[in-house]
Amino acid sequence: MKVRSTTFERSLSRGAKIVESLLRIAPDIEDIETRRQSRLLAAMLIVMTVGFGVMDLRGVLTIPGYAVPWYGYVFLIGSFLLNRYRSYTVAASLTVLMFPVVIFTQILTFPSTSQATSLYYLAVGFLIGGIFLSFRMLAVYAFLNAVAIVSLHFIDKSQFPSFNPIVGPLSLNIIVSLLALLTMTHRQSVEEEQQQELSESEARWRTIFDSVNEAVFVHDLENGAILEVNKKMFEMYGYTGEEAAQLTVGDLSSGEFPYTQEEALHWIRKASEGEPQIFEWRAKRKEGHLFWVEVSMRRASISGVDRLLVTVRDIDDRKIAENALRKSDVLFRRVWEDSKDGMRILDDSGSMILVNETFCRMIGKTRVDLQGKHFPYLYQHQSPDEIESGMRAYRDNYDRRSIPTHVEDEIVLWDGSSKWFEISNSFLDIEGQQPLVLSIFRDTTERRRADEQVRKLTQAVEQSQASVVITDVRGNIEYVNTKFCEVTGYTRGEVMGHNPRVLKSGYTAKEEYEKLWQTIAAGREWRGEFHNKKKSGELYWESASIMPIKDEKGVVTHFLALKEDVTERKRVEDALRLSEERFRVTFEQAAVGIAHVGIDGQFIRVNQRLCDILGYSRDELLSKTFKDITHPDHLEADVEDAEELFSGQVENYSKEKRYIRKDASPIWANLTAALVRDSNGQPTYSISVIEDISPRKRVEEEIRRLNEELEVRVVERTAELQTANRELESFSYSVSHDLRAPLRHISGYLELLKDEAGSLFDEKSRRYLETAAKSAVRLGNLIDDLLAFSRVGRTEVKKSEVDVRRLVEELKIEFDDETRGRNIEWVIGSMPVVEADPTLLRQVMMNLLSNAVKFTRKREAARIEVGCMPEKEGDRGVTVYVRDNGAGFDMKYAKKLFGVFQRLHGSDEFEGTGIGLANVRRIIQRHGGRIWAEGEVDRGATFSFTLLCGRRTASS
């Protein structure tokens, strides 16, 4: 169904399209009535052509000799085409003209043409003419027709026997003509009447129409043609009435898109469809001036005809004002939003009703966050009390219209940072409204910081330890800092505006100044030194750096000089140079090798002497570490020592070691390495002093060799000595055993003799026997003493601690028997514990005491004193003495006292073997001490010996 219906609709619309295209009329026809007539004409012409075509076709087929009236078709088709493309009026006239032309041609061609036929044609022609032509035209036409018929009658009457034009066609024509005239006249009077009415209403209407202050157009609904306009339109567009009739909507538009004819027709079409349109339009006056209008279109029935009524209002002024307003609005927006200052508008309640983008950025909040909030919102760190008082102050100020115009304020932002703002407040008075308060915020944080920076820099420059001088381009001083005044002795006032050449001493070369000026004039920095003069006349050295100061365009505006008094530095440098020279000389001329060794063991510096010692060149040594040239035997210990040194555990060390010379020979050296630390106390390198000790080593080696030889010899000798000792020992043994036996026998047998034959001998003989016996005993004692003496030399000294005083006390008791009956005063002082062989010391003391007892025998009051005195302060040595007041001795024999068999007294006076003191001396000597004697004949003697004290303290 749907398909069929669609096909039907399609063919219907196709048919309609064909009809539409057939009935097309000339485009310039604007009058709707005429357009309709034109369409009707087109339709009639098609019907007539087809109808005549059918009749003629039948004629040709049925009637022999039938002549087709082709000129008729020329008229028909020509009229059709004229109507279609050119002019309806001409086409209609041509169509009507076709009928008399056909009939006359028929008559001329076929004289037999019947009157009925000609009447028929004429009637059809008049009928059609009545339809399509005006009555005036029809009357004229009928008259012309009548003239044609009459003239035809007069051409040749004989030729048209059956045709009486007077009776038929002429009368018809006259009738038609008269009728047309009558009708025309009647119509005219009716029209005039109507016209009268119409013109009255129209006059009223026109008055209104023309007095409207808007241009009014009446357009044809169909083609949009301008049918009528009012006076205002002429005024508005600058056209006259005649011109206006020719205008199209395109002429009245600016022509710039979208104000083109096409667009205008589009609006018209839309409005024609019944929808009123109001829009603004860019209109054009005749002379081309463009202006803004407001167009209102609506469909309206005017005198019963549907038209499009268009009113146009000139809104150019309004538009200009609007544009101006918009422009000012845009400007305001731009200024408001693009301002580098933050802006905020507060209302009477202190609410932020408008803020600009910059303000939002400054505060770090969005517009949505801020707008509508009260301004204390910005001070979120303040207490509610502070906020309250702030609000109150604002309201008071607002009421008094005295808000402070300039405020500097710090705002702590939400991110915790704080910003300084310079806030300018002003009232905005808007007519009829509460005044608003505009606050302009300027972020002065940077400026404050910059100010601070400038202050700091100024301070820095002012306090700088360098002299700072700023001059203008001519070199006149504009600024000097305190240091400058300190250094030069000039006050600021003295140098201000002057040239720094006041400092010239004349010692700086002229060329130097020229070079300086060339450099800085070329915009570059100059560095150098001046030998300048202070105000006091004192000369000083200055290290200066002078540079141009340029403005942003690169133009030199000032010169800046930074200067430092380097007099002291120069002096120090000289001293340093001297010291370095001394060092270098010392280093190089030293008779020992010196090297600076880095922590990695690498040689940093070496002197020539070291090169000589090691046989390397300086460069070769500097590419080596001390390990490379150390003898393998010392390497491990050496590396350890170096590590200890470089780790700071020791400050220095000294050792003897061997190096390997370049020629691979070892060389003995004494190395003294000392650590050098940097100013932080970090070990940096070591100073190694390397002394060639190979000559000494050779001597030492020789000594060692000799020592070894000596030792061998000593061993040999010792062995010999031991052999001798052993021999001596066996000798002594033999002596002690074998020598005493005979003595005992002598003694024994003498005794036996005395017992057996004593009575036989006289006194003298018995004395001889006695003497012999005594001699034997004496010899026995002598042997005993000698053996003891010999034993002392051989036996080992086994030291232990001996209390001398106790020893003396013990020994004293042993003399009790011997000294019974004698008057002996023993004085035994306090004595120390000594280190000695107890047995041997006992012998010593026994000997000395027995001597004392013996040699005081002849004293009535004998005195024996034993005591000690410390040897030296702090020494462990002690001197023990035994003093008596006995026989004494002559000091000139003092040395003989201690010799073997040396006696100073006859044995008849004091018995003795002469071995005791020798033995004593030997014992003391074996203890590492010494012994001496002092005495005087008959005044006593003192024997002193030294021993080492024991650790233990003496018994009291």
Partner: protein
């Protein structure tokens, strides 16, 4: 075993033998004194061999030994006595001229019962010999006889 006390005097020097005998006799201690001229003889005597093979069984009360003797010296004799189970407890006294420390030490180490140095002076010598005889023969209780204690 003899009931009378006996002393074996070992001395290579006949003069000393004489002097000693004189000293011992003069006191009439009631002891018999046997003399051996050297160590070998002393051992022969103790072991009853050689010229002493016929001597009656039994050990002397004390053996007085000289140190330095030809052939076998006193120390050796002492060593043999001390190593012989039948007489290791036999009292032995050194009577010698040597007062060398080494001799004294060695004597005691080998287990000598006394060490007496012969004085040069005869009176002293005689006195010491007499004292020795007296002491060992009468004062000192001799060790029990091994034969008694261990009958074979």
């Amino acid at each position: 075993m003899t009931t009378s006390k006996s002393i074996l005097f070992v001395e290579d020097d006949p003069r000393d033998q004489e002097l000693a005998l004189t000293a011992l006799k003069s006191d009439n201690l009631g002891v018999t004194v046997a003399f051996a001229n050297n160590g070998e003889e002393a051992l022969d005597y103790l072991y009853r061999r050689g010229k002493y093979a016929t001597r009656p069984e039994g050990h002397p009360t004390v053996v007085i030994l000289d140190l330095k003797m030809p052939k076998v010296d006193g120390l050796e004799v002492l060593g043999r006595i001390r190593s012989e189970p039948s007489m290791h407890l036999l009292p032995v006294v050194f009577l010698t001229s040597s007062r060398e420390e080494g001799d004294v030490l060695r004597g005691y180490e080998l287990g000598v019962n006394a060490y007496v140095v012969k004085p040069v002076d005869f009176r002293e010598f005689a006195s010491k010999v007499r004292q020795l005889g007296l002491f060992w023969a009468s004062c000192n209780e001799p060790p029990p006889s091994p034969v008694k204690r261990f009958p074979l």
